[in-house]
Amino acid sequence: MLRFIPLFCLLFLGLKPPVRAQAPATAKVTVSGYLKDAANGEALVGASVVVKSLSVGATANEYGFYSLTLPQGTYTITYTFLGYEAQNVTLTLTENLTRSVRLGTQGLQTDEVVVTGKKPDENVKSTEMGTNRLDMKTVKLVPALLGEVDVIRSIQLLPGISTVGEGASGFNVRGGGVDQNLILLDEAPIYNASHLFGLFSTFNPDAVKDIKLVKGGIPAQYGGRLSSLLDVRMKEGNTQRLGVSGGVGLIMSRLAVEAPIVKDKGSFIVAGRRSYGDLFLKFVPDQKDNQAYFYDLSAKANYILGEKDRVYVSGYLGRDVFAFGKAFKNTLGNRTGTVRWNHVFSSKLFANATALVSKYDYGLGVPEGNQSFDWKSNIVNYSLKADFNYYRTPQSTLNFGAGAIYYTFLPGRVTPIAENSIFRTIALDEQQAVEYSAYMDNEQTFSPRLSAQYGLRLSMFDYLGGGTVYDYEGPNGRQKTPVNPRQYGSGQLIKRYPNLEPRASLRYVLNDNSSLKASYNRMVQYIHLVSNTTASSPLDVWTPSTNNIKPEHADQIAVGYFRNFRDNAYEASVEVFGKRMDNQIDYINGANTLLNKNLEAELLYGRGRAYGAEFYLKKNEGKLTGWVSYTLSRSERQINGINNNNWYVNKYDKTHYLSVVGIYSLSERWTVSGTFSYSTGIATTFPDSRYVYQGLVVPNVNGDVRNNYRVPAYHRLDLAATREGKIDPAKRWHSSWTFSVYNAYARRNAYSIYFRQNEDNPAKTEAVRLAVFGSVLPSVSYNFNF
């Protein structure tokens, strides 16, 4: 692989920006610094810095840092960010200068701060495509299930993003599986992003600052999953004063506290949530020993060590607990810890080093009696990485870095508890692996019309011992036979997979308000979620690539047309994508995916493909805001041993997927909103015949076909109204009530349809629909901050 490196360097460093020829002799100086919110000190990610007279600019990175290199001279620099008052600063530049700027929000009616934002025309002007940002203010106004603002439910209103059903954990991006999304919380991967089996997501909206979903044109910095990157960043905490916010809803309560550690030097935020459905169980005599709740805690602190250094420490702990008297207990959750250190090497070179740990685990068991046991499974990763932004010229920014992730997997271990337990100890071999990566990419402006971001990621995965490793033999579609067992010592290399992942995106501006974009990316995925159920379950286990399970690859090409109307009041886009995937995992009929030491005997591998068109129209301004998104797509796979080796649609394939979101500001205090979703029903297999065995009716389908039918189309209307408390500038206390109605016309959307014999008359057979929400779900919640 080393032979690529000279080429690599040539590609990035050898490219002379065309501008240099036009502006020779004058000495260059760099102005750099941080962009922050004036009220609370939060970094303004993606805010822009523009010198109009030169038509050059820069964008603040994830930490609010910007750097702009200009010829010596006097300039008016404009700092802008959506939802904030722009600031013009006139500077005479003779030497490198540090200039941090605080922007104030427009219309200061509340403390509620829109932190995520962008330039009004970023949609058209940036090289990003296949990227959606959601600002938390919008997310909070959209009707939410049981009044609980939910990041992951909200992104499902965007084009290209769907789910197999409400209550299903995870989401599907551009025809990819739920395990193909890299979900990062302050850079730490989250392995199961849901509470209560998928009803709510793990992210506390009060602690979230910025959500970005990238489904195409993924920059070289990110890798490890095929379909998308969901980058969730936590708030940093108010550097100016103590702030408290919280809410009380039907399901859970929330509280967040943020404050300066030392004013303008450092701050922290601690936010927690807990559900209290189980507290009602205490009043039911029958249920008083039962427990069912979840909680999560998000905490983050940052401190400015000096002009050039700042550190961030963040952590997350989420837990779901279910206990059924003394008969059964199940706990599960994620925990993460991230330490980051930003260092400004020079006004042009910004660096961030990250060390993090992330763990998802579950335990279930029966605490006492002759059937007592304790079952544990987990995935843990430790990761170190360094990322650099080098602002070479206003036309070129180089991003490069390297990292390593060390994984351990405990696929499952069962131990008996009581002396008289009928269970024995079963432990599957623990697995270990290391994933290495290095990348470099260049954001290059070739001309005011043409810009590109292109890069290369090198990744490598080492599957390490110990334990026993097998090969598997036998026909596809049936359980295979383990052969050729081999012993490996702990840490011994079993299999190595190196890969090159090129990425590129291109933007060509057609005129002031429209552009064409194109992108290509190759993604590689080394860890896989083994899930044989319609919706992934919390007991599903992650597995590394092994000597038998190969890394998944995806190649995606997308082209798009982006156009804004009426001075950016409306933005619109059409994107068309095509994706090819290999080494996709599927399962033989009746596969057993839990506690199976020969799991690989039940796996099948094949190809996948997905293609589609996404239409998006968004209204940003006025009393009525919102968007319409429509996706037309197809997602299929071909696996030898399934569906007679023919292509078949994935269960999450959705031909049509429509979302309409409207938010209307009625008055200073009242806002109403509504969302409507429509999608093709999920693909499933219906029987066409029956037989009887042991007196029980068994369904069967001729030809052993897969996913030959669709459950009925899904559609749903949700409504919400938010009433803000009286706005009294003299008081810091601010509160609001949100009333919402989920599934307003009480449609029984089919989550699944299954076939059974009638309970009273076994000769009669019937199709039964499971609707997760069979009626209207009204709710009310109260939110406050001060």
Binding site: A327, N370, R424, T685, F686, P687, S689, Y691, V692, A767
Partner: protein, 282 residues
């Protein structure tokens, strides 16, 4: 089984009972072409052993399945004994001399409607039932009030044993889809099974077990592939919930051996042992 209650509870905490619903819906599905359906077994108990041949019918068809008559069935064991079964009633075929034996393998050949099918099976080792007992339990978060039928007995050392249990209540088998109990020894290998519930408090027809009721339990040691067949069948006929398995055909051991024919069959011809015990609830 207890697991059902646990699942019901887990759904409950997901607030599903407040709002979720199951209802019967109309679905248009085509009528599949008829396939041979086989059901039969050979055991280590004295014969005769029966094989029933029917044809699959459209899923929503309520009529009894059509019988396949006039077929020629032969059964051969690994000791070279071989016999042709007699059709004792339409579609029902019986042996007359062959005796099933632990450790033997069996091949059933079926010639029917111009096709030839083969099914292979074996009879595996079996543990003995120590006892079955009826235990009265008061109402608790996990249990309803009433009698529970419990199993006691050794499990044989060495992983790879598979079992089916059938419970009869006053002569009538508990035979709703949820009553199909199959299990393997993966988690309990070689341990003494000291009282595991084979039933909840409800017996056949959904009525409670009560004093004076007769209960009979059949314990079958079954081959691995047959375990998978029954387990897949249990999954498919109880396939409801958030984490249901995608519908798929249940495996079969009946293979078409007619050259050039692709006509499949369904069902299973199984070898198993049969141990029984019974009690009267006191």
């Amino acid at each position: 089984m207890r697991m059902n209650r646990i699942l019901a509870f887990l759904l409950a905490v997901g607030l599903l009972p407040l709002t979720s619903c199951l209802d019967v819906v109309q679905v248009d599905i085509p009528e599949g072409k008829p396939l041979l359906a086989v059901e039969g077994a050979i055991t280590d108990q004295p014969g005769p052993y029966y094989v029933t041949l029917t044809k699959t019918a459209p899923y929503f068809d309520e009529a009894e399945l059509p019988r396949v008559t006039g077929a020629v069935l032969t059964l051969e064991d690994s000791e070279g004994r071989r016999e042709t079964l007699k059709e004792v009633s339409p579609g029902r075929y019986a042996t007359s001399t062959l005796q099933g034996k632990i450790g033997n393998q069996y091949v059933l050949t079926i010639r029917a409607e111009g096709e030839e099918y083969r099914a292979e099976t074996e009879i595996r080792r079996t543990p003995e039932i120590d006892s079955i007992r009826a235990e009265y339990r008061a109402k608790s978060p996990t249990d309803g009030e009433g009698y529970y039928i419990l199993y006691y007995g050794e499990e044989l050392p060495g992983v790879g044993d598979y079992y089916q249990f059938k419970v009869y209540h006053n002569g009538q088998q508990l035979n709703q889809p949820g009553d199909l109990i199959v299990t393997n020894d993966e988690m309990v290998d070689g341990k003494y099974i000291n009282g595991v519930e084979l039933t909840e408090e409800e017996g056949a027809g959904g009525v409670l077990f009560k004093k004076g009721d007769k209960v009979r339990v059949e314990a079958l040691s079954i081959p691995r592939d047959y375990f998978y067949f029954l387990n897949e069948m249990a999954t498919q006929i109880n396939n409801v919930g958030l984490f249901s398995t995608p519908p798929a055909n249940v495996r079969t051991n009946v293979r078409n051996v007619q050259p050039g024919s692709e006509k499949a069959a369904v069902g299973y011809f199984a070898g198993h042992t049969l141990r029984t015990d019974s009690l009267v609830i006191e």
